[in-house]
C-alpha cells in the first residue's frame, strides 16, 4: 500500500503594524513581542481555511481551487502563540504557500493586517509539532531577553520564577543555535 503523501505547513501569523496607541504602556514592549502578539480569539480554523481557499482561487483560479480545496485542512491552531499547522496534499502545497504569502489582512471578524510566515514544511505532523514547541520556547526566551519590560509592567506574574529562568536559559540557548541549522536542512530536503 502506498500512503497518500501530505505536507504539513507550520505557519506563524505576524502583526507588523502598530495597533496600540503611543500612550498605552504596552506599546513600549520590544518589537519582537509586538510582532508575535496573540491572535484574536474570533479567528477560528474555519475562517483560516476559508481565507486560504479564497486566496488560492484568487491567485490560481478554478484550477488552483480545485486542486487545493479537497485536501486542505487546519490541523492545529493556537491563538496564544499565533501558530497553526496546515495539511495539504504534497503535489500542491506550493500553491497554498504562495497564497499565504499574498495574505495581507485577516478576514472580517478580526480584520487586522497580518503577514503569514511559513516556518517549517514537514512530511509528518510530529516534526511540525516538535518545531512549534521549540520555536515557542525560543521566542519566549528571546522576548524575555529583549527586555525586562514585562517585569516592570507587572505582567511577569508568578508564572516565570527566577529559578526556572536560571535552569533553562543555558540549555535552550544551545537549542536556539540548533533550531536554525535544523530549519535550513529540513527546508532544503523537504521542499526538494
Amino acid at each position: 500500500m502506498v500512503r497518500i503523501k501530505n505536507r504539513y505547513l507550520l505557519v506563524n501569523f505576524l502583526y507588523p503594524t502598530a495597533t496600540l496607541k503611543p500612550s498605552d504602556p504596552l506599546s513600549t514592549l520590544p518589537a519582537t513581542i509586538q510582532f508575535q502578539q496573540p491572535t484574536d480569539d474570533r479567528l477560528t480554523p474555519q475562517i483560516i481555511t476559508r481565507m486560504i481557499r479564497n486566496g488560492v482561487e484568487e491567485l490560481f483560479g478554478d484550477y488552483g481551487g480545485g486542486m487545493v480545496n479537497a485536501s486542505i485542512s487546519v490541523k492545529y491552531f493556537s491563538p496564544a502563540t499565533s501558530t497553526a499547522i496546515l495539511k495539504i496534499a504534497r503535489a500542491h502545497y506550493r500553491l497554498v504557500w504562495a497564497a499565504l504569502s499574498y495574505v495581507t489582512r485577516l478576514p472580517k471578524p478580526v480584520d487586522k493586517e497580518v503577514v503569514v510566515r511559513v516556518v517549517r514544511v514537514s512530511g509528518t505532523i510530529r516534526k511540525a509539532e516538535e518545531e512549534a514547541i521549540k520555536r515557542a520556547k525560543v521566542a519566549m526566551l528571546k522576548a524575555r531577553k529583549d527586555g525586562d519590560v514585562l517585569g516592570e509592567l507587572g505582567l511577569d506574574g508568578g508564572l516565570w520564577g527566577r529559578e526556572l529562568e536560571k535552569e533553562e536559559v543555558g540549555g535552550i540557548e544551545d537549542e536556539e543555535a540548533n533550531v536554525d541549522e535544523d530549519e535550513e536542512e529540513d527546508e532544503d530536503s523537504d521542499m526538494g
Binding site: L14, A31, F35, R94, W97, A98, T104, V115, R117, V118
Partner: protein, 315 residues
Amino acid sequence: MFYDLNVLWSPKDNDLPRTLAFLDELGYNVVALTHTLSGKPPADLSCPIPTTLPFPVPPKLKVLRRCTLVLDDHKSNHRIAALSPNYDIVALRPTSEITLQQACHSLDCDIISVDLTVRLDYYFKFKMLSVALQRGVRFEICYAPGVVAIDASARANLIGNTTQLLRATRGRGLIISSEARRALGCRGPWDVVNLLTVWGLPQEKGREAIDNEARSVVATAAMKRTSFRGAVDIIYGGERQKPKTATEPGKDKKRKAEDDGSVTKTESQQGLTRNQARKQAKSSAKSSRPQQMLKTSQLPTLEGAQTQTDGKPSC
C-alpha cells in the same frame, strides 16, 4: 545570510524602525535603504540617508544605503560616477527599451531594476541582458508591489514580467528584494523563494538569488568603491608593520621573526641573510638595503590579495 537590498526610504518615515525590526524578525541579515532619484538629478548628489540612523537598529542587522536612479531619457548625462561614491549600491531603473539597453551596455551600476508592475512594450532579449550579466550587473525582482497591490493588473504584470525576465536571463544573475514601503510588504526569505518557485525559478536558484547573488552585489559594489581598480583590496593592510619598516629598516629581521609563522620565518631569514651575504660580497651594502625593504613592503598587499580572493563571490 539573507539580503533585502531594496527597502524604500523617505526622510519623514515614522515606520522605518518598525520595518527594520520586522525584517530582522523575518531573518534578514543585510538590508539596503533606497533613495530614489528621478527626473533631472539635483546639483547636490550627496546621500540624504544618515550613516547612523537616528533610532536603535536591531544589533545583527546591517544597513546599507542604496540609490535608485530612474532613467527617463537616454540622452542626458546621469553623472553616475559622481553619484556612486556617496552610496553603497547604485541601481538603475530604465523605463524604456533604449534606456535598458544603455544600462546593460555602458552605464556603470550594480543593479538593474526594471519596474515589473507595469506593462512593458518590449521583450527582454538574452543578448542584451547577457552583456550586463557579463559585466557583473544583476537584475532585480521586487515582490512587494505585487503583494500589496490593490488592483489585480499590477500583480498579473509582475508575474508575467518576472517569467519573461526568468526566460531571458535563464535564471542567472537575479536578485530578489522587496521594495517595501512598509513592514506589511515584507515576506520571509523562504516565503519569497517559494513564490519564485511557483513563478518558475528553481528553488536552489531562488535561494541563491536572495543569498549568494545579493551578497556578490554588495561585495563587488564595495570593491568598486574601496579597492584598487576593483581587483585588489587591502582588508588587513598590516597597519602595525608599515610604520616600523618605513622608519626603522635596521630592525627589520627581528620584527619579521616575531610576526611570521615559523616556517616562513626561518626560510626568509636564512634566504635573506644568504642573499645579503652574497650581495654584500659582490657589491656594496647600498644596493642590498632597498631590496630588503621592497620585500617586506610587498607582504601586506599580498596578504590582502589572498584574503580577497577567498572572500570574492563566485560570479
